[in-house]
Amino acid sequence: MTSELDIFVGNTTLIDEDVYRLWLDGYSVNDAVALRVRSGILEQTGATAGVLQSDTMDHYRTFHMLERLLHAPPKLLHQLIFQIPPSRQALLIERYYTFDEAFVREVLGKKLSKGTKKDLDDISTKTGITLKSCRRQFDNFKRVFKVVEEMRGSLVDNIQQHFLLSDRLARDYAAIVFFANNRFETGKKKLQYLSFGDFAFCAELMIQNWTLGAVGEAPTDPDSQMDDMDVDLDKEFLQDLKELKVLVADKDLLDLHKSLVCTALRGKLSVFSEMETNFKNLSRGLVNVAAKLTHNKDVRDLFVDLVEKFVEPCRSDHWPLSDVRLFLNQYSLSVHSLDGFRHQVLWDRYMGTLRGCLLRLYHD
C-alpha cells in the first residue's frame, strides 16, 4: 500500500514554525523528518514516523506555494488563496528574509551578480549552510537591491515598505544594499575580525551623513526627501574631501594640530607618549583616506585602509578603547581651533562619521 496522494488543507493555513525553519535552512524533506525525529517529537506526541513524514511534506508544499508570494511580501497581504493571520504573515516574511551572519559576511560588498551566485557552492561548503539556503539568502539580497536601487527616499523606509520587514531587518538590508552598491571590500583577511553588525553600523552612519540623501535632509520639510538618494555616496562631498589634505600637507598646520591635541590630552591618556609619537602618522592616515575617496577603487578599500592606517597601529600600541575615544574626540575638535583651516563643515561631516566608524571597528 503506497500513498499516491496525501494532503491537508486548512481554511486557515497551518504554519509550523519549526518546520518553516528547517525549510528555510534548506533541508530536504527526509533530512527535515530525521531532524524532527531527533528533536523527540515522536515521543512527545505519540505520532509515528509516517505521520511526521506526511506532515513535513504538507508543510513543505505549503511553503513552496507561499514562496512566490514571499518574493513580493505586499502580495502575501493582498492575496486570497491562503488565509493567514497578520501576525503569522509577519513572521513568515521576517523569517524568510532573515539571513545568516556567516553567509552575509561572505557576500557583503560583493556585486550581487551571476558571478557571485556561482561562488555560492564554495560559500556553502565554507560556512556549512546548505546551498539552498545560500541561494535563498543571496536571491533575497539581490531582490531587495533591485527593487530599491533606483528608488528615491529613505533606503530603510523603501525597504520596509516594499518588503514589510521589521525596522531592524530593514536596516540590515539597507546596509547590505549600500555595501553592494559601493562594493566595499570586507573579505580581506585583516577584516575578518569584523562582524556584520560592525559594518552595518558604519553603513548606517555613512548613509546618514555621506550620501546625497544626507545633504537634502531637513526633518521639517518632507518634500526634500524627494531628492533623497541613500544608495550612492555624495560625489561632490568626496571631491571636496581633497581639501582636507592641507591638514597634513601644511607642516605648520599639522604641528599646530598636534600640539593642540597633546595639550588637551596630557595626563588624560594612558598611552600619551605613544599617541604623541604616532600622531602625525595617524593623522596622515586619516586625512589621506579622505583625500583618496574620489577614486572608486579607494572607496572600495575604505575599511581596509581604516584598519591598516588607524586600527592596527593603535592596537599594536595597546590603546584602550576609552583612549581611542578621547583621542578621536580631541582630534576632531582641535581642528576648529586651526585658524588657517577653512573647511570646518566638511571636516565635521567627514570626521563625525569616521569617528563613529573607527570606534566601532576598534576591537579585537
Binding site: F8, N11, L14, L80, P86, E94, Q225
Partner: protein, 1017 residues
C-alpha cells in the same frame, strides 16, 4: 420583464503577464448574462488595470435570474491574433433575489482558469432591481430562501414544517459529447462548469416552485448532488425540507430557537404522563388545515380522502386526554394517528433536518435504509427524467414502508446518495424513523406560536425520544426492551441507532466519540447485468458486517447509542467498500451495554483456552479503559426499581434494510443475530481472529482530543472561539498481488486510522479541542486506488469548564438561552447586520489608502531613528523595535461544517453558496505532482468560497460541505483532473463579546470590522 441586473467592473490586480515582450498585460473584461454580452475598454499595459466601467445593465426575466450565473471573463487584448483568455468568474446572483439576504455583491473575486488555477483578482459590483410580479403562472420562485443547514436557522423561527421536497434534472455531459473531441480541455471544462451552474439554478428554481405551492417560504437542509453518470449523462438532484420561517427580528417575537432547550420544558413538572392537550381544540387543528395541505412532490394528484379520517380523529383526541393514565399506550396510538393524518397525505413524510425545534421529535424508532443497484442507460430525453425519478421514488417508498414497520410515520435526518462505477449505480437512502408532533407540520392557528405549543407539551425531559414508538407486543424484529432508566415508565430498547444529531435535551453520561466501521469486499470484474447481480448479492453481507462492527465497537466503548450514522457503500471495478461513521454516546435512558464475550470452538485445548481468556481480558480491559476515558459512570441502579430484571443484554438492531436489484426484488435483512441470548463472538477460524484483533487496533485519540461526526460533542459545552476547518485527501495504491478480503480490510483500516492520527498531530497546537462533524468520503477512482476525503472542523474548548455534569450543562444552556434573549432585546439585529457589510467594504478602501500613504514615512519618525543611531550610543545596534504589524486588507472569512460559530451570534443569512469547479493540468510534475496539484486546487476552492462570501458582505460560511471531490490522474501523460462541488450558507456573525460592547455603545460605530484598528498602528 421583472428584473434589471446591473454590473460594474471596477479594477483588476495581480494579473498574470500575458505579453512576454513587455512583461505586461492589455486586459479587458467581457460581462455575459444569458445571451447578452458587454465589454469594457482595453486597459493597456498593466497588471493592475483600473477599468472603472459604466454600469452594464441586463433586463431579464426572474426565471433567468434564478437559472443563469453571471459570467465574467477577463481577456488579454491581442491586435494580431485571437484574444487570450486569462480566466473567469461565475457569480451566482441568487442571494440578491430575496429581500432579507444580501443587497449588493461587491468585492474582489479570484479570476479562475480551469487549466492555470487562480490568476489574479477582479473587483466587481453587482446589483439587482426586482419589479413586483403578480403573474400567478410564473415559472420563477424568487424569494424562497435556501439553507444548507439541517436545522432551523438560528435567526429564524419555524412556523410550519411542510415536508419533503425533491427534484432532479438531467442533461448530457459535455465531456462526453462528440464535440469534445475537437475542442480544447479548457473549453470542455468551461462548458461543463457552466452547464452545472445552469442546472443547479434551474433545480433550485423548480424546488422553490414546489415550496411556494406548499405555501412555504424556505427550504432547510437543502442538499444538492451531482451524479456524473459518464456516457449516460449528468444528473443534478436535490432534496430538502420545505418550511415556513419567520425572522426573529422584533424582540416580542423572539423565542428560544431549536439550539437551546426551552425553559418552558424545564419549568413544567417532571411528568411522564403524556398529556398532549388539555383543551381538545388543540389537536383538532388538522381538520382545519386540511384545506391547505399540499403534497410535496405531486400536488396535482392530491387526495382528499383523508379528511374523513380526520373527522373521526377528533373525538379520539378527547378520549386520549381524558384517559391520560399511567400508560403511554393510548397516547402513542393517538400520536401515531395524528401524525398519520398530518403526514399520510404527503407522498413521502421525510425531513432532511437532523436537529429539531423543541417538542417536534416525539419518538425515534431507528435507522431505516434502502439501497438499489441500477444499470445506467443513456438518458434519451432530458426533459423527461422519468427513469431516474422512478428509481428514487421506488427507494423512498421502501424507506417509508420500513418506517411504518417500526411504527413510525415520518423519517427524519433523511439523505440520499449514489455510487457509480462504469454503468452500475448504487442508489442509497437512509434516515431515522420517527414519530413527530403533528402540530408543527400543520399551519395551525394564526397565533399558534411555538411557545404556546411548548407550554402545552408535557413530554418527559431528555428521554422521551428514546421510548419505543412501535407496539411492544407486535415488534417488527426481535428486540429486548426494558423500562426507561430515566423515567422508569416507558419501554426503551437497549441500543439506539439514528442518523440525526443528538437532541439538545438528551441526558447523556460522559462524552461521546467517533465510531467507524470499515469494510472491503472483493468482487469479480464483470459487465453490466452480471456485475449488478454480483453487487446485489454482496450488499446484504456488507450491511450485516458493517452493522456487526458498529455494534462491537459501540460496546467496546461502553456506550449504547449512535447518532449521525452515515453508511457509505462505494462500488469500484473489483471491490465494494463500506464505511460507516457515527458518534457513540451513553444515553442515560438506555440500559448499560453488556460486554463482549469470546468463545472458542474447541474448548478442550488448554493453550487455546488460555489464548481465548487472554483475549477476553484484553477486551474487558479496553472497555474499562474506554469508560474511564469517556467519563462514563452511570449511577448504579438497584434491580427492584426496574420493572423486569434484565438478563444479559442482547445484541439487537434498529436497522431495517433492503436491497433491491433492477428486478424490484425486495429482501429484508434481519440483523439481530437470530435469538442469541448474549453477545458472543465466536472465534472459529483465523477470520474471526482478525476481526477481534481489528476491534482492538482502533487507537483512541491522544489526550486533549475528542472527535465526533455530529454538530456538537456530548459532554463538552464550553467552546472557545478558535476554529479550524480543513479538508484532507489521501489516495493509496493497493499492491495488486494476492489481494484478499483480510488484506484489503487491514489496508483500509490502516488508511483511515493513519489519516485520523495525522489530523491529531497536525492540530496538536489547538488542544484541548474537538474534531466535530468529521465527514469521511470513500471513492474508488481506479482499479487499485482508494481515495478517502475528510472534512471536519477543530474547535477549541476551555478545559477547566469541561468537566461539568450533565445537569449543569442543561442549566448553562438555559442560561445562555435567556441571555441570548437579553442581548437581542438590547441590540436590534437589523441595525447591526445591515451596517456591517457596508462598513467592511469602506474599511477595505480606507485601508488601501493608508497603506499607500505609509510610503512616505513622516519625517518625525525618521528623525527619531537618526537620533537612535548616533555614534555615541553604545553599540546595541541590532536590537531595535518590533516587526511592523503587517496589516492585511483581506477580511477573515470563517468556514465550518457546523450550523453555528462558537462564541458568536449569527445575525444574518446571506444566501446559499453552491459552487462547482473543474481543474485540469497537463503539467502534473511541474505543479508538484498529484499532491501539489490537489493541494493548490483545494486551497483555491476555499479562496473562491471566501471571496464570494466576503463579496456578499458576510464573514463566515456555516454548514459548509464538500459534496464531491472527484480526482482522476494519468501520470504517464503528466495529466490530472479534479472536480469539486462545495456548498454552505453565507452568514454574518457577530462575536458575543462584541455584542456586549455594542449594546453599551452606539452600534453603528462599533460595527466596523476589527481589521481597521490595525491600520494606524
Amino acid at each position: 420583464m421583472p428584473g434589471k441586473l446591473k454590473v460594474k467592473i471596477v479594477a483588476g490586480r495581480h494579473l498574470p503577464v500575458m505579453d512576454r515582450a513587455s512583461d505586461l498585460t492589455d486586459a479587458f473584461v467581457e460581462v455575459k448574462f444569458g445571451n447578452t454580452t458587454f465589454k469594457t475598454d482595453v486597459y493597456l499595459k498593466s497588471l493592475n488595470p483600473q477599468w472603472n466601467s459604466e454600469w452594464f445593465k441586463f433586463e431579464v426575466d426572474d426565471e433567468d435570474l434564478q437559472d443563469e450565473p453571471l459570467q465574467i471573463t477577463v481577456l488579454d487584448h491581442d491586435t494580431y491574433s485571437a484574444n487570450d483568455a486569462i480566466g473567469k468568474v461565475y457569480i451566482d446572483i441568487d442571494p440578491l433575489l430575496y429581500s432579507e439576504a444580501a443587497t449588493v455583491i461587491s468585492g474582489w473575486f479570484p479570476i479562475y482558469d480551469t487549466i492555470h488555477g487562480i490568476r489574479g483578482e477582479i473587483n466587481v459590483v453587482v446589483k439587482v432591481d426586482l419589479f413586483n410580479d403578480l403573474n400567478r403562472f410564473r415559472q420563477s420562485s424568487c424569494g424562497v430562501k435556501f439553507f444548507c443547514t439541517t436545522s432551523i436557522p438560528k435567526c429564524y423561527r419555524a412556523v410550519v414544517i411542510h415536508g419533503f421536497v425533491e427534484e432532479l434534472v438531467v442533461n448530457e455531459d459535455p465531456e462526453y459529447q462528440w464535440i469534445d473531441r475537437i475542442r480544447t480541455p479548457r473549453a470542455s471544462n468551461e462548458a461543463r462548469q457552466r452547464l452545472i451552474s445552469l442546472m443547479s439554478g434551474e433545480l433550485q428554481r423548480k424546488i422553490g416552485l414546489k415550496v411556494l405551492e406548499m405555501r412555504g417560504n424556505a427550504v432547510v437542509g437543502y442538499l444538492q448532488c451531482f451524479d456524473l453518470e459518464g456516457e449516460s449523462g449528468l444528473v443534478v438532484r436535490a432534496i430538502g425540507t420545505a418550511c415556513t420561517l419567520d425572522k426573529l427580528s422584533s424582540p416580542a417575537a423572539f423565542l428560544p430557537a431549536c439550539n437551546s432547550p426551552s425553559r418552558e420544558m424545564k419549568e413544567s413538572p417532571f411528568n411522564e404522563d403524556p398529556n398532549p392537550n388539555p383543551h381538545s381544540s388543540g389537536p383538532s387543528t388538522p381538520l382545519k388545515n386540511q384545506t391547505y395541505s399540499f403534497s410535496p412532490s405531486k400536488s396535482y394528484s392530491r387526495q382528499s380522502s383523508s379528511s374523513d379520517t380526520d373527522l373521526s380523529l377528533t373525538p379520539k383526541t378527547g378520549m386520549g386526554s381524558g384517559s391520560a393514565g399511567k400508560e403511554g399506550g393510548p397516547f402513542k396510538a393517538l400520536l401515531r394517528q395524528q401524525t398519520q393524518s398530518a403526514l399520510e397525505q404527503r407522498e413521502f413524510p421525510f425531513l432532511t433536518l437532523t436537529a429539531f425545534p423543541p417538542g417536534l421529535l416525539v419518538h425515534v424508532g431507528g435507522v431505516v435504509s434502502a439501497r438499489s443497484v441500477k444499470l445506467l442507460d443513456r438518458i434519451h430525453n432530458p426533459d423527461e427524467p422519468e427513469t431516474r425519478d422512478a428509481w428514487w421514488a421506488e427507494i423512498r417508498q421502501e424507506i417509508k414502508s420500513h418506517a411504518k414497520a417500526l411504527g413510525c410515520h415520518a423519517v427524519v435526518g433523511y439523505s440520499e446518495s449514489t455510487s457509480i462505477c462504469e454503468e452500475v449505480c448504487i442508489l442509497s437512502a437512509s434516515g431515522t424513523a420517527a414519530v413527530l408532533n403533528p402540530r408543527f407540520l400543520q399551519e395551525g392557528t394564526v397565533e399558534g406560536s411555538l411557545e404556546q405549543r411548548l407550554i402545552e407539551e408535557n413530554l418527559p425531559v431528555g428521554c422521551g425520544f428514546c421510548h419505543i414508538p412501535y407496539d411492544e407486543l407486535n415488534m417488527p424484529f426481535p428486540a429486548h426492551l426494558t423500562y426507561c432508566y430515566n423515567c422508569r415508565k416507558q419501554k426503551v430498547p437497549d441500543v439506539l441507532f439514528t442518523t440525526i444529531d443528538l437532541p439538545t435535551d438528551a441526558v447523556v453520561i460522559g462524552k461521546g466519540c467517533l465510531i467507524q466501521a470499515r469494510l472491503c469486499r472483493l468482487k469479480k470484474k464483470a459487465q453490466a447485468e452480471a456485475n449488478a447481480t454480483a453487487i446485489s448479492n454482496l450488499l446484504p453481507f456488507m450491511e450485516y458486517e458493517v452493522h456487526t462492527q458498529l455494534m462491537n465497537k459501540l460496546k467496546l466503548k461502553g456506550m449504547n447509542a449512535l447518532f449521525g450514522l452515515r453508511i457509505q457503500v462505494t462500488v469500484g471495478e473489483n471491490m465494494l467498500m463500506g464505511l460507516a461513521s457515527a458518534t457513540g454516546v451513553y444515553l442515560a435512558a438506555l440500559p448499560m451495554p453488556g460486554g463482549i464475550q469470546i468463545a472458542g470452538k474447541t474448548p478442550s485445548d488448554g493453550s487455546y483456552e488460555q489464548h481465548i481468556s487472554h483475549m477476553q481480558k484484553k477486551i474487558n480491559d479496553t472497555i474499562a479503559k474506554n469508560k474511564e476515558l469517556y467519563e462514563i459512570n452511570p449511577p448504579e441502579v438497584s434491580e427492584e426499581i426496574i420493572g423486569s430484571p434484565i438478563p444479559e443484554p442482547r445484541q439487537r438492531s434498529r436497522l431495517l434494510r433492503s436491497q433491491s436489484e433492477s428486478s424490484d426484488e425486495v429482501t429484508e435483512l434481519d440483523l439481530s443475530h437470530g435469538k442469541k441470548d448474549a453477545f458472543v463472538l465466536e472465534i472459529d477460524d483465523t477470520d474471526a481472529m482478525e476481526d477481534v484483533h481489528s476491534l482492538l487496533t482502533d487507537v483512541p485519540p491522544p489526550s486533549g482530543f475528542y472527535s465526533c461526526n455530529t454538530e456538537i460533542m456530548p459532554g463538552i459545552n464550553n467552546w472557545t472561539s478558535e476554529i479550524q476547518m480543513f479538508t484532507s485527501v489521501r489516495v493509496v495504491r493497493l499492491s495488486s498481488l494476492n489481494l484478499t478480503n483480510q488484506a484489503l480490510n487491514k489496508n483500509f483500516n490502516g488508511l483511515c486510522e493513519n489519516l485520523l492520527k495525522s489530523l491529531y498531530f497536525k492540530l496538536r497546537s489547538m488542544t484541548p479541542c474537538c474534531l466535530c462533524h468529521v465527514n469521511f468520503t470513500v471513492s474508488l477512482p481506479e482499479d487499485e486506488l482508494i481515495q478517502v476525503t475528510v472534512t471536519a472542523v477543530a474547535i477549541t474548548f476551555d478545559k477547566n469548564q469541561a468537566l461539568q455534569t450533565t445537569k449543569a450543562h442543561v442549566e448553562k444552556s438555559l442560561q445562555r438561552a435567556s441571555t441570548d434573549n437579553e442581548d437581542l432585546l438590547q441590540f436590534p439585529l437589523e441595525l447591526c447586520s445591515d451596517s456591517l457589510p457596508s462598513h467592511a467594504f469602506s474599511a477595505t478602501k480606507e485601508h488601501l489608502e493608508s497603506a499607500s500613504s505609509n510610503s512616505g514615512t513622516p519625517a518625525a519618525q525618521r528623525a527619531v531613528t537618526v537620533e537612535k543611531a548616533s555614534p555615541m550610543g553604545d553599540g546595541n545596534f541590532r536590537n531595535r523595535s518590533a516587526p511592523p504589524c503587517a496589516s492585511s486588507t483581506v477580511g477573515v472569512v470563517k468556514m465550518t461544517p457546523l450550523s453555528f460559530i462558537p462564541g458568536a451570534k449569527i445575525t444574518k443569512y446571506l444566501g446559499i453558496i453552491n459552487m462547482f469547479f473543474i481543474r485540469e493540468t497537463t503539467s502534473l510534475r511541474e505543479e508538484g505532482g498529484v499532491s501539489g496539484f490537489l493541494h493548490a486546487f483545494i486551497a483555491e476552492v476555499f479562496a473562491m468560497v471566501r471571496a464570494h462570501v466576503a463579496a456578499l458582505g458576510g464573514n463566515a460560511v456555516v454548514s459548509y460541505i464538500m459534496k464531491q471531490c472527484v480526482f482522476m490522474e494519468n501520470p504517464s501523460k503528466n495529466q490530472a483532473q479534479c472536480l469539486i462541488n462545495v456548498s454552505g450558507d453565507a452568514v454574518v456573525f457577530v462575536r458575543e463579546s462584541d455584542l456586549e460592547v455594542m449594546s453599551t455603545q452606539q452600534p453603528t460605530v462599533n460595527c466596523q470590522p476589527s481589521c481597521t484598528g490595525e491600520v494606524t498602528t
